[in-house]
Amino acid sequence: MIRRLAVLFTTLILAMVMIVPAASAWSVAECSFNGWNSFSGNTAKAYTGATNTGCDAVWGKVHYKVDAIWDWSMPCYTYIYDFCIKNVNGADDADLGKHRALSNSGGLSVWYVSY
């Protein structure tokens, strides 16, 4: 019984890990934000979001492949909303997203790469 429960638990954990895209969190000045990128079906996504009120704006871009060519998307941008998602439909693959945020005090982060 215990062994079955252990197997079930392990399977559950693995399943959860597999469906959760790569995620990261980081800060610049008083601005904290997070990001993730994912690839599912033929859709590549990069999410960039603020996790507190210290963020003024966020940008995100996604690296994706289509027809054997790797492309960078134009950065998405948000100002009023605290996140943006760059969504590319019809991609063959995706390898990473890049994220950047501007704090309310004007501090601008370098592009942060999440795999």
Partner: protein
């Protein structure tokens, strides 16, 4: 008519519009514009200095940026449309993810931000869009929050996308294309029609849904401050470092400091 006048409504527009707020707003705006004007690349300044951004100006900025990238040898595709034609986009092939940065900062950084802000509905229109957006999301099988503003709904949809089940759902993507101003969906270049504005929903114009003088504000003081800070931090524009105000505001000309 393609020259859709877009009231440049920015971050604090709703809160600061009207009454004395507008007066103080305009007063600080004037001085701020002087400061930003010194720092802003000429082509973008020419589009924004009258505190209005037309679709033609937005599109032109994209063409200039894409041409700039192409001139630098970058393999760039665009402008193409995204979100049912409410926005333009480009993509590029390079091992350097920032290969587009110089041209983006030169021709698009301010204009794109202003355009994005101008497309976000406010007031009664925001309520209407929220209701339609929520209905659309509900119709595809999600259970969006019944209260809260448009931003909360956008957040809900964004979080839903993290679930692979919904992250690749064509019906939900259709809702996003129609209504979202935080989630940007575009097809790869080879799937694009090549007609960037084959839109089912035209970009918002100032006259479409807003009452001039009521909920349309000029560029906000805070936003311009932010722009100035951002630009100072990110853009190394050779002309501005020479300390002069641009005399030329025409993109077709070669601009130089006095």
């Amino acid at each position: 008519m393609k020259s859709l006048i877009v009231g440049v409504v920015l971050a604090v527009a709703v809160a600061s519009c009207g009454g004395s707020a507008t007066n103080s707003h305009s007063a600080s705006l004037s001085s701020l514009l002087d400061r930003v004007g010194d720092q802003m690349p000429a082509s973008q300044l020419s589009a924004l200095r009258d505190l209005e951004l037309t679709y033609d100006e937005y599109e032109r900025a994209f063409h200039l940026a894409v041409q700039c990238m192409s001139d630098q040898g970058l393999e760039v595709r665009g402008p193409n449309s995204e979100n049912n034609g409410r926005y333009l986009t480009y993509s590029f092939s390079s091992t350097d993810s920032e290969a587009d940065s110089q041209c983006f900062e030169e021709h698009l950084s301010y204009v794109h931000r202003v355009w994005v802000e101008s497309q976000i509905p406010t007031g009664a229109e925001a309520d209407r869009v929220r209701e339609e957006y929520a209905d659309c999301v509900h119709s595809v099988g999600l259970d969006p929050p019944t209260d809260g503003d448009l931003a909360i709904l956008e957040r809900f949809v964004g979080e839903s996308l993290r679930d692979p089940t919904w992250g690749n759902n064509a019906a939900l993507d259709a809702c996003i294309r129609q209504y979202s101003n935080a989630i940007f969906s575009n097809d790869p270049w080879h799937l694009s029609s090549g007609k960037p504005w084959s839109a089912t929903r035209k970009p918002r114009s100032a006259s479409e849904s807003r009452q001039p003088g009521k909920d349309v504000c000029p560029i906000s003081a805070n936003f311009l401050t932010d722009l100035a800070q951002l630009h100072t931090l990110t853009v190394r524009h050779e002309l501005t470092t020479q300390g002069g105000r641009f005399r030329c505001f025409d993109d077709s000309q070669s601009c130089s400091p006095p």
